[in-house]
């Protein structure tokens, strides 16, 4: 069953268009209506999104769905609507004001090529607030906020959007006879389309600058800005690409997620804190996670917090691990039970803690790190030398294996098991080797 052909997409609810006499917006709204009549879409499948400014008064005249949004942000809502429902025709009506405050969205929608239609009603100033200058006000143009003449160079919106990757860009005026056909072209483009329409603001800009139709056309001519079709270069649309990637992702296996069963025993009677400190790039964080997962295999609960600079491969990397047979409420370590130091960076980052260490704390420090006087028990161990056969990335695993072997918190086998289950594939064998090295190293290690 075909719906009857519509003669207009404007409603009669509000009577005549309430724009100032001679305002270009009225002509533009009528041209959009003529374009919709040509296309005959179902009104519920069209969303007209308007921005703030006089053009924002226009959505109420259409019988389609509509959204009048925040100043400069209409493009963002339109993108959300289009991404959510690609079958809809989404048309944004924005003024030159919106192009200033929302310039980033203008550039980014062009760059992404999201298939919305943007129609810019460019009347060269802010009509709604009394005629202040906008980003498109001509140089030396007179407005209420630059009565001596505009000293700012206007943005060539079309050239800017074309440079940002706009796949369909057109500049015209409300006086163009074929404006509605151009609008049809913009709506039918399979990608982002932008149509900039120059207009007269008969309330402010036109009288202040003694502009009429002829004057506006002459001004456009003198601006040096191109008119007509400025870009028409179809390329893949954003949401189509997004869906294609989405399908590909479905075939990828999710990461090594598996429940952690309680397999091994442990000797941990109360909540204990372990501080693991080294250098960025030493795999401190991933080793801490493996250690915590191992403790879970041994029936414990664990927490892990990491501290590192925003850079990679530079500076310290510190992980704090808490183990407990009970649920862990307080996740800070005020007084660690074990400190594992595998580099000078790690020591520098944790130095503040040392004067508070008690005799209940055991330190496993890399050979050569000069520790301050503490009450803690200390082991000084040549982790790096022992790790030579397996490389720098596994030093931390060696150190944690030493800690486990000496402390007896839970079996080393749990650590190896966690490595087999959760370690990156390319690091698995090295890490398992590191556990064996740590076990041997622990046997040779004596307290200082």
């Amino acid at each position: 069953m075909n719906a009857p052909r519509r003669g207009t997409y404007l409603n009669e609810r509000f009577g005549a268009l309430a724009f100032c006499p001679g305002c270009g917006h009225a002509q533009l709204v009528k041209a959009i209506d003529r374009a919709l009549v040509k296309l005959q879409p179902d009104p519920s499948k069209v969303v007209i999104v308007t921005d703030i400014g006089c053009i924002g008064l226009s959505d109420r005249y259409f019988i389609t769905s509509a959204f009048h949004g925040l100043h400069g942000r209409s493009i963002t809502y339109a993108c959300g609507i289009k991404l959510a429902r690609p079958e809809l025709r989404v048309i944004v009506l924005m003024g030159d004001g919106g192009c200033g405050i929302g310039a980033t969205h203008l550039l980014n929608v062009a760059r992404r090529n999201i298939a919305i239609t943007l129609i810019i009603a460019n009347n060269l100033n802010y009509g709604m607030t009394g005629g202040q200058h906008s980003v498109t006000t001509p140089f030396q143009g007179i407005t209420s906020s630059c009565p001596e003449g505009n000293i700012e160079t206007p943005i060539d919106l079309c050239a800017t959007v074309a440079a940002a990757g706009g796949s369909w860009v057109y500049r015209g005026t409300v006086f163009d006879r074929a404006l509605s056909d151009v609008i049809v072209g913009a709506i039918e483009h399979r990608g982002f389309s932008m149509l900039e329409v120059w207009e007269l603001c008969t309330a402010y800009y036109a009288p202040r600058n003694k502009l009429d139709k002829k004057g506006l056309l002459s001004l456009l001519d003198r601006s040096g800005f191109k008119t007509g079709m400025i870009a028409n270069a179809p390329r893949p649309e954003y949401s189509e690409q997004l869906r294609r990637i989405g399908r590909k992702k479905q075939t990828l296996l999710r990461n090594r997620e598996q429940p952690i069963k309680e397999i091994y025993d442990n000797t941990v009677g109360k909540q204990i804190g372990i501080v693991l400190a080294g250098s960025a790039g030493q795999k401190i964080r991933s080793a801490a996670t493996l250690f915590a997962q191992a403790s879970m295999l041994a029936g414990l609960n664990a927490t892990q917090k990491d501290d590192y600079p925003i850079t990679v491969q530079t500076g310290h990397s510190v992980s704090e691990i808490i183990l407990s047979p009970e649920r862990i409420d307080y996740t800070a370590i005020d007084s660690p039970d074990y400190v594992v130091l595998i580099s000078q960076d790690g020591f520098m980052a944790t130095m503040d803690r040392f004067r508070r260490l008690t005799e209940h704390c055991t330190i496993f420090a890399h050979h050569g790190i000069e520790l301050p006087q503490t009450n803690a028990r200390c082991y000084s161990i040549a982790f790096a030398a022992a790790s030579e056969p397996i490389g720098r990335n596994a030093i931390v695993i060696v150190a944690l294996a030493v800690l486990l072997q000496i402390s007896g918190l839970f079996p080393l086998e749990a650590f190896s098991d966690a490595i087999r289950r959760f370690s990156e594939k390319n690091a698995r064998e090295i890490n398992l080797h590191a556990v064996r090295i740590g076990k041997e190293l622990a046997k040779k290690t004596k307290k200082e």
Partner: protein, 375 residues
């Protein structure tokens, strides 16, 4: 899934997916960034969309548009991004747009400490936008609660056609813990009411009683619908009529305020004859749990009330917990933002003691006991 070792941000993403979230947009910001990564890794499998926007304003704008087109949407940020969300949160309140906003709080103000925790945005979340319309804000204390409350936030957003803020904290979102999310009990998924009346002209904000939640028409559905950021009537057309404007404002208030008890979630650990009560929320409530055990082991009677809903204020639960106690301690990982809410509700004879710290470190159980003069 069973026992696993995950951080709060992963749990937040899981909660969203479990609630059938199918649209996510955000701008990268520590400590919320990994929510974007989790959603990007997961959503395409669920016919969803997860994208990185050019800024926070675009992120929430995308979400609002997608929600209006029928998606279940979420965005995630930290304090600086909340500032940029502000105007659009006002719009979402006004357009009655379901929307879940995760604020992984960090030490503020401004850029503050990007990788350090604080409950910086407790009052900010309440007064985030012009007009003072009521908002809903939930505050998890654990990773399980981050999962559960994110899930629940979707139900509230859909039920009340409103933005709902989840106030996480770096200390929850970026800490890994042993959890078993299968053991978290969840209510059934709620979707917005889409049963539309037959009338020729659809009213996007239809209500008879001010506390009614209007049915929602998706963009692209069978009915033409409208939304507007401007002061409007039930048909979503601009109005300057003072009576209608007041009716709409009353509606926004009544819708949330009348449901305050339904939205209120608290956890209680009361002790008979305790003269001291600790009221806390979020990550600090976990230090409180340790402090309470410590005090009780020393023979001190002590009660604890933990708030999971911060806005609207769970007034009834707070008032009831304060009945009969002599002292209320309010420890916070900020300079005492929620204390004034408690103060407003406390009987004159109750002594209120705030414990405030905002140096990126957790309040220790000892600080709570000592500065709260519990010992």
């Amino acid at each position: 899934m069973g026992r696993e070792f995950i951080d709060g941000n992963r749990a937040i993403a899981r909660g969203a997916l479990r609630a059938k979230c199918d649209f996510f947009a955000s701008y990268p910001i520590t400590p919320a960034t990994t929510i974007l990564q989790e959603m990007q890794a997961s959503l395409p499998d669920n016919q969803g969309i997860a994208i990185q926007a050019e800024d926070e304003i675009a992120a929430i704008g995308f979400c609002i548009g997608a929600s209006m087109a029928g998606r279940k949407v979420m965005t995630a940020t930290s304090g600086p991004g909340m500032s940029l969300y502000s105007e659009n949160i006002g719009l979402a309140l006004m357009c009655e747009t379901p929307l879940v906003i995760v604020d992984v709080q960090r030490q503020g103000p401004a850029t503050g400490s990007a990788t350090k925790g604080a409950d910086s945005d407790i009052l900010f979340s309440r007064w985030i936008t012009s007009s003072g319309l009521p908002v809903i804000a939930l505050c998890p204390a654990t990773i399980e609660e981050a999962y559960e409350l994110t899930y629940h936030a979707f139900n509230l957003a859909e039920k009340f056609r409103a933005p709902v803020i989840v106030l996480s904290n770096k200390e929850i979102s970026m800490t890994r813990e042993t959890v078993d999310l299968d053991r978290v009990k969840l209510q059934p998924v709620i979707n917005r009411n889409r049963v539309l009346p037959d009338e020729a002209v659809f009213l996007p904000h239809a209500f008879t009683r001010p506390d009614e939640v209007p049915p929602f028409a998706d963009f692209g559905g069978d009915r033409v619908t409208r939304h507007t950021t401007s002061t409007h009537d039930q048909a979503a057309y601009l109005t300057s009529h003072p009576r209608i404007i007041q009716e709409m404002i009353d509606h926004y208030f009544a819708k949330i305020d009348s449901a305050a008890e339904e939205i209120a979630r608290v956890k209680t650990d009361f002790q008979q004859d305790a003269e001291t009560l600790i009221i806390s929320y979020g990550i600090t409530s976990r230090s409180v749990a340790v402090a309470v055990r410590e005090a009780r082991s020393r023979g001190i009677k002590l009660s604890s009330l933990v708030l999971q809903t911060l806005w609207p204020t769970p007034e009834k639960a707070i008032r009831s917990a304060m009945t009969g106690v002599k002292k209320v301690v309010v420890p916070e990982m900020n300079m005492g933002q929620y204390r004034r809410e408690i103060e407003r509700l406390s009987p004159p004879e109750v002594k209120l003691v705030g414990v405030a710290k905002m140096n990126t470190q957790l309040l220790t159980p000892q600080e709570i006991l000592e500065q709260g003069t519990v010992l």
